[in-house]
Amino acid sequence: MEGFVGPRVYSCYNCRNHVCLHDDIISKDFQGVNGRAFLFSHAVNIVVGALEDRRLRTGLHTVGDISCADCHEVLGWKYERAFEASQKYKEGKFIFEKVKIVKENW
């Protein structure tokens, strides 16, 4: 349909499985192993891996890798718990690395 504007979807870079929405971005200011990363409030079609306690730059966190449900590529991680009060806002939210997601036709 010409001119139809739907939700702006991001897909897994490897298999184009839909994984998150542009409107769910909370912050673009994060750094992953492979460069820039974004914080999203929601994610779909992903599997959360084993949760681990890790000392990150911003303090102690419980995180788990997130991978594409179809092709199992690791796309980022999920914050499950945060020790510092200032970092609590990240709990339950998802980091997708910029190089691991692609815009789906927009």
């Binding site: 929601h42 779909v44 891996g49 084993a50 949760l51 681990e52 306690d53 890790r54 102690l60 718990r81 020790f83 009060a85 609590k88």
Partner: protein, 419 residues
């Protein structure tokens, strides 16, 4: 059924009589009562319409995904159902799901209902709760975890209407506040189990009000309620001292030593305590807890309690003889010395589930003592311990209990042990 069947040992009735005509409903019901597995009971219902009607009438529990029309039909067919499970999957894309209209049907038609599970029914609102409060006065257990639209208004209506409420799960119902807790204390004196995980508006005042009227609470979960602190928890300990068995305070950062000391003073029967993330808790109060609750404590979660050291851990291991699950992840002060006391003890510990991940000062020596005394271990989390690895354990020739799953690097899924 037309073929003649011989009834009893050699004593035949008149030829051509069907067994189904001879047996009465009561006799068939007593046969059904002896069938233990759900599958057998379902097969019973496959015999003929009469047996199906009997089996349906006896059925106590239903799990369904149904709209209002189907729900009404289910209520008509299964007249004695006391437990109804309409919970939905976690998936975000489920549509439309259970609605307030469905709850209106449930409230009007399932009059004997005692247990209702609506967890993850994201579409329901206070309107549905008002129906439930109006119609299901005998309701004893309600699970509306993750029903994010619910507020005090709807849930208070449930409290007012369901005086015999015993179990209430409100995990992630973020709009819930102290107002509801006051309502529960006024209307539901028999409340035994209350889950408020993630209800961040709850404060000490609400908790204090709650235990003013609800003094039979066995399980209280205020995990992630960051505004709850020592005042509220001390009041819980005092008011529910004889009933309290499980208390979960995960990431309640304002909870400190005073709460633990209150629990030690009042709650001798405490079985499960989770204070993970309560960073202000120190050795002294935990030692008192070990002394007071040593005979009852089975599960203790203390991960991220950075002040915990060998002093309290050794007391806990020595005095909590029935301890089955222990989590001291990220307790950086803990060293091998905490386990030295165990080496001289005769008894074997009943520990099944142990997490010592991120404990940089525990080495294979300490682990060796643990393995020696904990022969019932089923799960051991050793991740991110710099001195402990599979290689190091093999070199030290450590003997792991036969059924024990060991997590060195985080690939195993963790069993659910109430932590």
């Amino acid at each position: 059924m037309s073929a003649p069947i011989v009834v009893g040992g050699g004593e035949a009735g008149p030829p051509g009589v069907c067994i189904n005509d001879v047996l009465t409903d009561d006799e068939l019901r007593s046969v059904l009562a002896r069938l233990e597995s759900e599958k057998d009971r379902e097969i019973f219902g496959l015999v003929c319409k009469r047996w199906l009607a009997l089996q349906s009438a006896e059925r106590r529990r239903l799990a369904a995904r149904a709209g209002p029309h189907m729900l009404a039909m289910l209520a008509a067919r299964f007249g004695r159902v006391v437990e109804l499970d309409l919970s939905q999957s976690v998936s975000r894309s489920f549509y439309p799901g259970v609605t307030d209209a469905d709850l209106a049907v449930v409230a009007r038609k399932f009059k004997r209902l005692k247990v209702l599970n609506l967890s993850h029914c994201k579409g329901i609102t206070d309107k549905g709760m008002l129906e439930i409060g109006d119609g299901l006065s005998t309701l004893q257990s309600l699970d509306v975890s993750f029903c994010r639209k619910l507020t005090d208004r709807g849930l208070e209506a449930v409290a007012r209407g369901c005086h015999d409420m015993r179990t209430l799960h409100l995990a992630s119902c973020r709009a819930v506040s102290d107002v509801l807790l006051l309502g529960l204390s006024r209307n539901c004196p028999n409340l035994e189990e209350l889950v408020l995980e993630g209800c961040t508006n709850i404060t000490d005042q609400g908790i204090t009000d709650l235990v003013g009227g609800c003094q039979k609470i066995k399980l209280l979960d205020v995990s992630k309620c960051s505004n709850v602190g020592d005042v509220g928890i001390s009041n819980v300990a005092k008011s529910c001292s004889s009933s309290l068995r499980t208390l979960k305070l995960l990431d309640c950062c304002k909870v400190g030593d005073q709460s633990v000391l209150s629990l030690a003073s009042f709650c001798m029967g405490l079985e499960t305590l989770v204070v993970s993330g309560c960073r202000d808790i120190s050795d002294e109060s935990l030692k008192s807890l070990a002394a007071a609750c040593g005979n009852s404590l089975k599960t203790l979660g203390m991960n991220w309690c950075l002040n915990v050291s060998d002093l309290s851990l050794s007391s806990i291991l020595a005095q909590c003889r029935y301890l089955e699950a222990l989590d001291i992840g990220c307790c950086e002060e803990v060293t091998d010395a905490a386990f030295q006391g165990l080496a001289s003890v005769e008894d074997v510990l009943s520990l099944k589930f142990l997490k010592i991940s991120n404990c940089p000062n525990i080495t294979v020596t300490g682990l060796g003592i643990i393995l020696d005394k904990c022969r019932s271990l089923e799960y051991l989390d050793l991740r991110s311990c710099p001195h402990i690895s599979k290689t190091a354990c093999d070199e030290a020739m450590l003997r792991f209990p036969d059924c024990c799953k060991v997590n060195y690097v985080g690939r195993l899924s963790e069993p659910d042990m109430k932590l």
